[in-house]
């Protein structure tokens, strides 16, 4: 095998995918009460359009916003709205949530049948994506319809399906590739149609050879879809790194992929788009990998949005040790540590990772020893050590010069840092200071 394509920088963490990679997707239990945040995405939060006491049907819209950069929210169950509350989300922000008591009996979603892609225009697909409340399901949760409408002067010729799943531990996308290969390819073709692109490239990390083989055989009759194996390295699935590895194009700092004629969507989003277009199904459930050394029976679960993660932990045999050290929503590199297990799953939740005591032990950050390991690791070619130094001194302009605003918080720098410096803490501080400064 020749040398696989990739990008410069990055890290090689232990992937630990084997904990859950062989576990077929199964539905998670539906809890009695679901807490559905009205802001699960990047952009304007939705307003509730239901009130306490009202009956809601599965898939009924419960949150709406007139803002373009926003994503509607739908009821994940049939049941009764108990109350509208404010509570903290996974990232500690206060958001409005619709609390729904689920009926004991839940019918399956009434899928529309007789789908033919030819009967949809690109315009219609974009509309459907918006109506279904689609967001990027890799974690960033950017509204899909916005991404599907690039500026007119920046035509997109290449749709890239991010099938890297470069975060350690997570296997939800891998399972979708294995179990839903046909739907994934259909979804990819819909994305292609929506932006009028010429080709689709599915980029798969080389540690998922079997998934790539399945996709290749399924796509063999569709010449505009190609499947490419790329090097196993974190963060290979980051938009800019992936575009570069697959096409050799570099998205300039501060610019979007459309700048170089690309659209990147992850596996989960492509499958969700398929379900929305072909079945008329809005985005109210997703696959979540529940895993880690701290969980008894790791699994890939199909979870209704709004399900507290405690329900998922119980469904996976509970914690494997007396007390878990860290409970992470998302992957271990970019996910959010939770204070407790009451946090509800949202559209962007790709995993729940339970780490043991060692990971929970807080190692105090020490003085930067200027080893340069963070610089070597940074895929954006920034100087994370200097960003931190500037932030500590309150020199925000300097922090910007060193790349604070170009940092996409992949965490490679901190992973390698022998002084255990939490760079992202300082980057976020710099970002918010710079944002208020320009207001």
């Amino acid at each position: 095998m020749g040398k696989l394509k990739t990008f410069k920088g990055g890290i090689h963490p232990e992937y630990n995918k084997e904990l859950s990679s062989s576990k077929a997707i199964r539905p998670a239990p539906i809890p009695e009460r679901l807490i559905v945040p009205l802001s699960q995405h990047v952009g304007a939060p939705c307003d509730p359009i239901v009130s306490a006491g009202e009956r809601v049907e599965l898939g009924q819209k419960v949150g709406h916003s007139e803002a373009y950069v926003s994503a509607y929210v739908h009821s994940p169950v049939t049941g009764v709205v108990e109350e509208i509350v404010s509570r903290k989300n996974f990232a500690g922000q206060t958001v409005t949530c619709v609390v729904i008591a689920a009926d004991k009996e839940q019918a399956d979603f009434p899928k529309r049948s007789g789908f033919a892609l030819e009967s949809f225009t690109g315009e219609q697909i974009r509309e459907i994506a918006r109506d279904a409340g689609l967001v990027g399901m890799g974690g960033a949760a950017f509204p899909t319809h916005v991404k599907l409408s690039p500026p007119k002067d920046k035509p997109v010729d290449t749709v890239i399906i991010n099938a890297c799943e470069c975060e350690p531990f997570l296997t939800c996308d891998y399972r979708l590739m294995i179990e839903r290969a046909d739907d994934l390819i259909s979804g990819a073709l819909m994305l292609k149609k929506a932006v009028g692109a010429e080709r689709v490239i599915i980029g798969v990390e080389a540690n998922k050879q079997d998934a790539a083989d399945i996709l290749k055989s399924k796509a063999s009759g569709t010449p505009e879809v190609s499947v490419e194996l790329i090097e196993v390295k974190y963060p290979q699935g980051a938009e800019k790194m992936l575009i570069y590895a697959l096409t050799g194009r570099k998205v300039p700092p501060g610019k979007l992929p459309s700048e170089v004629g690309c659209l990147v969507q992850n596996v989960g989003t492509a499958v969700a788009l398929f379900e929305a277009v072909a079945w008329g199904k809005p985005l109210y459930e997703r696959v979540v990998t529940v895993t880690g050394p701290g969980i008894n029976e790791p699994a890939n679960l199909l979870v209704r949005v709004g399900t507290p993660i405690s329900v998922l932990i119980d469904a996976c045999g509970g914690y494997s040790r007396e007390a878990p050290g860290k409970l992470i929503m998302g992957g271990p590199m970019t996910g959010w540590a939770q204070e407790d297990a009451s946090t509800p799953v949202v559209k962007g939740t790709s995993g729940v990772v339970v780490l043991g005591k060692e990971a929970g032990a807080v190692v105090e950050e020490s003085e930067c020893v200027s080893c340069g390991k963070c610089i070597i690791a940074c895929p954006m070619m920034l100087t994370p050590n200097l960003i931190v130094r500037s932030a500590k001194r309150g020199q925000w302009d300097r922090a910007k010069e060193f790349g604070a605003l170009d940092c996409f918080e992949c965490g490679c720098c901190s992973f390698e840092c022998p002084a255990y410096i939490p760079h992202i803490k300082y980057v976020r501080r710099a970002k918010s200071m710079l944002a208020t400064a320009t207001k």
């Binding site: 890290i11 963490p13 350690p168 800019k240 570069y244 570099k250 998205v251 300039p252 700092p253 610019k255 878990p324 050290g325 860290k326 409970l327 992470i328 998302g330 271990p332 590199m333 970019t334 996910g335 959010w336 540590a337 939770q338 204070e339 990772v353 780490l355 990971a359 929970g360 032990a361 807080v362 190692v363 020490s366 003085e367 930067c368 020893v369 200027s370 080893c371 340069g372 390991k373 963070c374 070597i376 895929p379 954006m380 070619m381 100087t383 050590n385 200097l386 010069e401 790349g403 170009d406 918080e409 965490g411 901190s414 992973f415 390698e416 022998p418 002084a419 255990y420 992202i424 976020r428």
Partner: protein
């Protein structure tokens, strides 16, 4: 934590390479084993005593300095012990033990702890201590006490550098002897082979990268040739190899970015040759590195890497 909550909530990432500063320092200590062993093999008790005295003094100085400053004792990061060993290796074998003590106190007490400890020091502590001793000894001949220029084990006082400067080739040690083992100069200058074995370990453990040593060696080689000095001799003699792989690569006092590292190494190589050519100072490598230490923050700030996708330097 309050309410019996044992979950740790910190910013991402939540996994780590598990490398620690102390691991790296320990690696450098390990990498110094060949050099130290060769030094002891050649100089016996002279080397043993110097090394023991300097390391013990370094540990003691760090503890006292930290107690005075009411800071946590950080002996377990090995950095003080390392400074002690480095200083001992930079001294000629016949140095009086109390000169080693003074140098170490200056290195650890002033160059490192007074500036705020590991990570905040601008100058390589061991080199700072070494050069301080040289300067002091010119003012107070009694510190030198015959140690710096004395004769030991029958080798003449002329170090290999002497031959480089004078151009006399008849009696100087050959290339091979410089490479394998030739007692002259400081403890660390005995064997290039020992230096390279240690350096290979540092590369393997990813403690150092190639930029700084390569830039130093190449620039010193080329400039020597241009100035009509024997280029091969130039890089084999006078602790240049030891300086390039072990001293100039010191994390804290060298640049962290690749471009800055290349320029830093280049300047050190040039300075070494110029100092050797135009001054009488025997410690060109030490001076050159210390001078460039002072420019490290500037180099790092000015020679930033090109951001991913940047067409040209923005602003």
């Amino acid at each position: 934590m309050a309410n019996g909550n044992t979950l740790s909530v910190t910013v991402s990432p939540h996994i780590h390479s598990r490398e620690k500063v102390s691991n790296a320092m320990r690696d450098v200590l390990i990498a110094l084993i060949p050099v130290t062993a060769v030094a002891i093999g050649f100089f016996r008790w002279d080397a043993v005593i110097n090394i023991a005295v300097c390391m013990a003094t370094a540990a003691l100085t760090e503890v006292v300095a930290r107690l005075i400053a009411r800071k946590k004792i950080t002996l377990n990061d090995y950095s003080a012990l390392l400074t002690g060993l480095f200083l001992a290796l930079l001294l000629p074998p016949a140095t009086n033990w109390w000169a080693g003590v003074i140098g170490t106190v200056i290195a650890v007490g002033i160059a490192k702890e007074l500036l705020g400890g590991l990570g905040r020091n601008y100058f390589n502590p061991a080199l700072f201590g070494r050069v301080s001793l040289i300067l002091l000894s010119t003012w107070y001949v009694w510190i030198g006490g015959g140690g710096f220029k004395g004769t030991i084990n029958g080798v003449t006082s002329a170090t290999p550098l002497f031959y480089l400067k004078s151009g006399a080739t008849g009696v100087r040690p050959g290339y091979l002897s410089l490479f394998l083992g030739n007692p002259g100069g400081s403890l660390s200058e005995v064997s290039i082979l020992a230096v390279l074995v240690g350096a290979a370990y540092l590369f393997y453990r990813k403690v150092i990268t190639w930029e700084i040593p390569a830039a130093i060696i190449v620039s010193a080689f080329v400039l020597s040739a241009i100035l009509g000095m024997d280029p091969l001799y130039s890089i084999l003699a006078g602790g240049l190899m030891f300086g390039a792989f072990f001293m100039a690569t010191d994390w804290v006092t060298s640049p962290s970015g690749r471009n800055a590292q290349l320029v830093y190494g280049l300047c050190i190589g040039i300075l070494v040759v110029l100092i050797r050519k135009f001054t009488a100072a025997p410690e060109g490598v030490a001076y050159a590195i210390l001078i460039m230490n002072a420019f490290t923050p500037l180099l790092d700030r000015v020679l930033l890497p090109k951001k991913f996708g940047a067409v040209r330097e923005s602003t």
